[in-house]
C-alpha cells in the first residue's frame, strides 16, 4: 500500500511537471529546431536537432548583446529582491508585534498590487529623468523592489504572525532589544517563507517588462525587453527559433536560483517543523 501510494505520488508529480511546463517544453524543443523544421514539423520529435539558434544569438552579439541583457536582469532583480526583503521583514515585524501601521500602511501597500503600475510610468519617468536615474541598474532595481513589496509584505506578515509571541517575550525578558529578537529569534523561524519570498520576488522582478521598457534605453536594458529584438509581437514577423532560444536562456538564472534556494529551504523547513 505504502509503495503503491509512493509510486502514485511520483506519477502525479511527473504529470504535473509535464502539464504545467507544456509551453516551456515546446519552447525548449523549438529552440533546437531549424527554421525549416519549425515551418514543416510541429511535433515534439525533432528530426534534425541543431544548436544554430543558440549560436546565432551569440554570433549576433554586436547587434544584440544577450550577456549584457542577462547581467542587467540578474543585477537588477537581485538588488530589487534584496531591498524588498530587507524593507518588508522589519515592517512586517513592526506591524504584527507592535501593531504599528497595520491599519494604515498595510492596506495601501497591498493595494499597490491592484493598480496597473503603468499609470506611474510617466511620472516616474519624469522623476528619474530629473534625478539622472534613467537607464541605470539602480534605478530599475528600485522599481523592482517597489513592485514586489506588496507580495513580500503579505507573505512575511503571515509568517511572522505564525511565530508564537511567547518566544519573543522570552527573549525580551532575557534582555534582548527588538532588532535582536527579530534577527536572532524570529528570522530563523520564518526562514522558509523568506526563502520562498526571495524566489518569488526574484521571479517577478525578472519578468518585469513595462518598467524595463520605459525606463531603460541601452545600458540597463533587462532581458525581457531585449528578448523582443527578435519579434514584434504585433504587426511584425517572429523568428520563432531564435526567440525560443532566447527565452530558454533567460529562464536559466531564475531556475538556478530556485534549485539553489530549494536545497536550503528543504533543510530549514524540516528543521523548523521539528522545533515548536
Amino acid at each position: 500500500m505504502r509503495r503503491g501510494i509512493s509510486a502514485l505520488r511520483w506519477l502525479v508529480l511527473l504529470v504535473a511537471v509535464v502539464a504545467l511546463n507544456a509551453p516551456v517544453i515546446v519552447t525548449l524543443v523549438t529552440s533546437f529546431k531549424s527554421d525549416a523544421e519549425i515551418a514543416a514539423n510541429p511535433s515534439l520529435v525533432i528530426e534534425a536537432p541543431t544548436v544554430s539558434n543558440y549560436v546565432r544569438i551569440f554570433a549576433m552579439s554586436d547587434r544584440f548583446d544577450i550577456l549584457h541583457f542577462l547581467t542587467n536582469s540578474v543585477v537588477e532583480a537581485a538588488l530589487g529582491t534584496v531591498l524588498a526583503i530587507a524593507l518588508a521583514l522589519p515592517a512586517a515585524y513592526g506591524m504584527i508585534r507592535f501593531r504599528v501601521g497595520l491599519a494604515w500602511l498595510f492596506p495601501p501597500v497591498v493595494n499597490l498590487r491592484a493598480i496597473p503600475l503603468i499609470i506611474f510610468a510617466i511620472p516616474i519617468y519624469l522623476m528619474y529623468q530629473a534625478a539622472g536615474l534613467l537607464d541605470t541598474r539602480f534605478g530599475l532595481a528600485l522599481i523592482l523592489c517597489l513592485v514586489n513589496l506588496p507580495l513580500v509584505l503579505v507573505l512575511l506578515v503571515n509568517a511572522v504572525r505564525d511565530v508564537p509571541i511567547e518566544l519573543d517575550e522570552a527573549a525580551r525578558i532575557d534582555g534582548a532589544g527588538p532588532w535582536t529578537i527579530l534577527l536572532r529569534v524570529v528570522l530563523p523561524l520564518v526562514r522558509p517563507m523568506i526563502a520562498s519570498s526571495t524566489v518569488l520576488a526574484f521571479i517577478y522582478a525578472w519578468n518585469e517588462f513595462l518598467f524595463g521598457l520605459m525606463l531603460t534605453t541601452r545600458d540597463a536594458v533587462p532581458v525581457t525587453v531585449g528578448a523582443s529584438f527578435f519579434f514584434s509581437a504585433s504587426g511584425g514577423g517572429v523568428q520563432w527559433g531564435v526567440a525560443a532560444a532566447v527565452m530558454m536562456l533567460s529562464t536559466l538564472p531564475p531556475l538556478l536560483l530556485g534549485l539553489f534556494a530549494y536545497r536550503h529551504i528543504g533543510r530549514s523547513m524540516t528543521a523548523g517543523a521539528i522545533k515548536g
Partner: protein, 297 residues
C-alpha cells in the same frame, strides 16, 4: 504544551517607538518613490492631458471619471477581468492545494524537486503569450498536431467562443506553481507536535486534513487566493501578446483597457481615472477580506 495565541490578540511586544523604527525604511521608500507620482496622477485624473501636455495638464474636474463610468467598454473589461479572476483563482487554489498536500512527502524528502514545478513562472508572461501563438497554431503548433493525431481534428483555440477558456487555462498553468509553493511551505510549517497530538488522539489522515491542517492553513490560503485574484484580475502581458484586445474587443481585460486608453487613445486623464476607480474597488475588497479574516481567526 505551548499553545499559540490567536493572531488577533492585542498583545504588544513593546513601545510603539520601536514599531515605528521597524516600519520606517519601508515607509520612507514608498514616500520617496510614490508621493510625487501619486500627486501627479491625482492631478492627471482630474485633467485633460495628452502626451503633448504632460507637463501642463489642464484641470477639468471629474469629467474623466464620468467618461470612464459611462463607458460600456470599461464595464465590459471589468466583467471580463472578474470572470477571469474568479475562475483562475478557484482553479489554481484547488490544483495547488491538492498537489501540495499529496506531493508533500515526496517534496520533503527531495527538496529540489520543487524547482521544476516552479519553472512555469520563470518565463516572463509576455514571452509565454508569444510562445503560445506558435504552440496553438493550426499548422506549426504542437498542440493541434497532437490533437489531430489523437482525435483526427483540432479545435479552434482562439476563436470567439474558445479564446476565453484558452486564456484561463494558460494563466492557471503558469501560476499554479505560485500557490503550490506558498501552500506547500505553509503545510510543512505546521509544527509536528500538533500533528502528533492529533494522531495520538486517534485522528485519521483525512480527518487530520479537515479539522487540523486546513484550518491552520486558512490564513495562508486566503492570502494566496487574494494575491492570485488580484494578479489575475489585472492580467496583462500574456493576454495582450496572445490575443490583444480580441476580436471586437472581447478579450479586453481591465489592464488592457487602461493601457489602450493610455497609449492608443492618448487620453492619459481617462486612463488614470480608470486606475483610480480600480484602486478604490480593490481597496474595498481588501478591507472586506481583512476584516473577515481577522474576525474568523
Amino acid at each position: 504544551m505551548a499553545r499559540r495565541k490567536p493572531a488577533a490578540a492585542p498583545t504588544r511586544l513593546g513601545g510603539r517607538r520601536d514599531g515605528w523604527l521597524m516600519i520606517a525604511p519601508l515607509t520612507a521608500l514608498l514616500v520617496v518613490m510614490l508621493a510625487v507620482p501619486l500627486a501627479v496622477d491625482l492631478v492627471y485624473a482630474v485633467s485633460r492631458v495628452t502626451f503633448e501636455t504632460l507637463r501642463a495638464p489642464s484641470v477639468i474636474g471629474f469629467g474623466n471619471f464620468a467618461v470612464v463610468l459611462r463607458d460600456g467598454q470599461f464595464w465590459g473589461a471589468m466583467l471580463f477581468s472578474l470572470r477571469f479572476a474568479v475562475l483562475v483563482t478557484a482553479a489554481e487554489l484547488l490544483l495547488a492545494l491538492t498537489l501540495a498536500i499529496f506531493l508533500a512527502p515526496l517534496l520533503a524528502s527531495i527538496p529540489w524537486l520543487m524547482a521544476p514545478l516552479l519553472l512555469p513562472m520563470m518565463v516572463a508572461p509576455a514571452l509565454v503569450g508569444l510562445m503560445y501563438r506558435l504552440v496553438l497554431h493550426e499548422f506549426v503548433g504542437a498542440v493541434p498536431y497532437y490533437f489531430v493525431l489523437l482525435t483526427g481534428d483540432s479545435p479552434s483555440f482562439l476563436g470567439p467562443d474558445t479564446a476565453f477558456w484558452t486564456l484561463v487555462t494558460i494563466e492557471t498553468l503558469q501560476w499554479t506553481p505560485f500557490a503550490l509553493l506558498i501552500l506547500y511551505t505553509a503545510y510543512q510549517s505546521i509544527p509536528t507536535d500538533v500533528r502528533e497530538a492529533a494522531s495520538l488522539d486517534g485522528t485519521g489522515p483525512l480527518q487530520m486534513l479537515r479539522y487540523v491542517e486546513l484550518p491552520l492553513m486558512r490564513p495562508t490560503i486566503l492570502a494566496v487566493g487574494f494575491i492570485r485574484f488580484i494578479d489575475s484580475f489585472r492580467v496583462f502581458d500574456n493576454v495582450y501578446t496572445l490575443t490583444g484586445a480580441g476580436a471586437g474587443g472581447d478579450t479586453t481585460t481591465i489592464s488592457i483597457y487602461i493601457y489602450e486608453a493610455f497609449f492608443r487613445r492618448d487620453d492619459i486623464g481617462v486612463a488614470v481615472a480608470a486606475s483610480m476607480i480600480l484602486l478604490a474597488i480593490a481597496f474595498a475588497m481588501l478591507t472586506v477580506v481583512l476584516r473577515w479574516s481577522e474576525r474568523r481567526a
